[in-house]
């Protein structure tokens, strides 16, 4: 291939990618800059960067709705779900990857099949259960039904299967019991899988909307996404406040993604390939 031709191709590639990236990132750019515009500027002919930044939009948006409480609830819910996934999914994955018992493959396939069940086929009786347990408007309703998930089991099981069985057998000969083998030997080696499960579980919990919408009605237990939805319908005519609220709700997930993106994308690709 001649050099000018290769250079032209590289340039073309960058131009296309740049155009696509601009399209994809534009809503974020508008979100951020609108959140810093003054009200009389938001409806003017479109322009991206405001002449002066209205930082006061943020304290005003924060004061207009109980964002601190929403935030706290989201953190509590996400922490509970992440901890639940790390413990329950790991235990189940260990049994499915390292122990021999009848029906092991059937149980695993059954679990994977539940991943295909659409939410709406389960949400009504699940809601009914929460009511019967007396959990409506409580952290229990937000956390307990989602303490375990199949995605985490699949990821951790896949990782455990890639570790040599000799590890377990050597440890067993040294007198370690199964829980010691799992927690002292296998899990320290499984950090990449555990990190990617933790991040995905956090993203899921932080961004979750339907379930918290159904099982809470009180601001005392409502999460940030519910808060943002309510804020949207209330402050629709005030895009500058609205976008400030949106930034507040979206930032933690984006920040965590930016921080851990490499392991996240890799873990995701690995699971997809296995499926």
């Amino acid at each position: 291939m001649s050099r000018p031709y290769a250079a032209a191709r590289a340039l073309g590639r960058h131009l296309l990618l740049l155009g696509l990236s601009v399209l994809i990132v534009a809503p974020f750019a508008w979100m951020i800059t609108t959140s810093l515009k003054s009200f009389d500027k938001v409806h003017q002919p479109p322009y991206l960067v405001p002449e002066q930044f209205e930082w006061s939009n943020y304290p005003q948006a924060l004061a207009a709705a109980p964002f601190a409480g929403y935030y706290l609830n989201s953190v509590v819910m996400a922490a509970g779900i992440v901890a639940g996934h790390l413990l329950l999914d790991t235990l189940a994955a260990y049994a499915l990857a390292r122990l021999r018992f009848p029906g092991r493959n059937a149980i695993f396939l059954g679990l994977v099949a539940t991943m295909l069940v659409p939410t709406f086929l389960t949400v009504l009786p699940a809601f009914d259960l929460v009511i019967r347990f007396g959990w409506f408007n409580s952290y229990a309703a937000l956390i307990v039904p989602r303490l375990a998930d199949v995605f985490g089991i699949v990821v951790i099981r896949g990782y455990l299967l890639s570790l040599p069985m000799e590890l377990d057998e050597a440890a067993r000969i040294d007198g370690a019991n199964r829980m010691q083998i799992l927690f002292r030997i296998l899990l320290p080696l499984s950090k990449p899988a555990l990190v990617s499960v933790a991040v995905f579980s956090f993203l899921f919990a932080w961004n979750d909307f339907l379930w918290p919408l159904l099982v809470t009605s009180d601001d005392q237990y409502r999460t940030i996404q519910l808060g943002l939805a309510a804020f949207t319908s209330k402050y629709g005519p005030y895009p500058h406040y609205l976008m400030a609220g949106t930034v507040i709700a979206a930032v933690p997930a984006i920040a965590i993604f930016m921080y851990l993106q490499r392991s996240l994308v890799r873990g995701l690709a690995a699971t997809a390939v296995k499926e």
Binding site: W30, P118, L124, L129, L210, V273
Partner: protein, 323 residues
């Protein structure tokens, strides 16, 4: 537990190859002969699996069955008695224009999102599929919408595509008239489709990238020697070899659209005039807004069965020659 386990290991060190004839034969007839289970394994496995199975059983498996039973009642979701009405709800469904509308909307939405997801996913992955500077930056940019909450993403789109929003004022600047993106039923579905594709693009790109990186390099070298240009290689080698991933991406897109609720809730709330009322949103509205819990379950059951069937037929009829 430890002591018993070690006695079971007697005669077979950790790395000794398995030489017992019974075990060797197991390769030929795997079901007939097998090592007996260790008791410790059974007990530990039961204890380890119990918590996860309890949660998933109680909140996924049981509800899946219970929704079917619920669909045979006219329960309102609150009162203690749940009147059994047999298949009445299913009869009601046939004549319900809201249900028919949601079916049409869901199928159009599912088709739109899957077709556009494949096109944009393959395109973006093809652009990213070689080593060059700045690749990671693009990939990050593409992935941003995936990790953003649907509620936040739709809040921004709702503002951008408002009648008097930035998109319209930009169009006016270049001389195009005002478009009521979210106020017209058809355009609202188009906007919802675009929003969904935008949100999923990064995921599909990463999936296709993974698949492309696993493609055999020799085939490309041979094709290049035979004089196949980049476009021909894409058309005749890459796309056919990517078929399994395309299947995965389409299934993923369909699952996303069947589940779609947050985006719809925040962008259009199912409107205008039901233009974006996908089946999931109709289930929510029926059960939780109008208080017809039993009928909501019927819509969920019948709706998903129908949408799956329709999509499958469409897939068989139209999808065969594409791959």
């Amino acid at each position: 537990m430890g002591v018993r386990d070690r006695t079971a290991e007697v005669g077979r060190g950790p790395s000794t190859p398995i030489t017992h004839p019974a075990v060797q034969r197991a390769g030929a007839a795997p079901r007939r002969v097998r090592r007996s289970y260790r008791r410790g394994d059974l007990i530990t496995a039961a204890l380890c699996l119990a918590p996860a199975l309890l949660v998933i059983g109680l909140f996924v498996v049981y509800p899946l069955v219970a929704t079917g039973l619920l669909s045979l009642t006219s329960w309102d979701g609150i009162s203690p008695d749940r009147p059994f009405v047999g298949l009445d709800n299913y009869g009601k469904l046939m004549a319900d224009p809201a249900f028919r509308n949601s079916m049409v909307v869901t199928v159009l939405y599912g088709l739109g999102v899957s077709v556009l997801s494949v096109i944009t996913g393959v395109g973006a992955a093809a652009l990213l599929n070689s080593a060059f500077r700045g690749r990671a930056v693009y990939r990050t940019a593409f992935f941003l919408p995936v990790v953003t909450s649907s509620i936040a993403a739709a809040a921004v789109w709702r503002y951008l595509f408002d009648v008097s929003g930035p998109v319209n004022s930009a169009l006016e600047q270049v001389g195009l008239g005002e478009t009521n993106w979210l106020g017209d039923p058809h355009l609202a579905l188009v906007s919802l489709t675009l929003l969904t594709v935008w949100k999923q693009l990064g995921l599909n790109t990463v999936l296709y990238l993974t698949a492309m990186q696993a493609l055999p390099a020799q085939v490309y070298e041979a094709a290049a020697l035979d004089g196949a240009g980049p476009w021909q290689r894409m058309r005749h080698i890459t796309l056919p070899l990517l078929a399994p991933m395309t299947f995965f991406v389409v299934v993923q897109a369909l699952v996303v659209t069947f589940q779609s609720f947050d985006l719809v809730y925040q962008l259009t709330a199912g409107g205008p005039m039901g233009g974006t009322e996908v089946v999931g949103f109709l289930v929510y509205r029926t059960a939780f807004v109008t208080g017809q819990f039993g009928y909501g379950a019927t819509i969920a059951y019948a709706g998903f069965a129908l949408v799956f069937a329709l999509t499958w037929i469409q897939w068989r009829l139209g999808g065969k020659d594409q791959t």
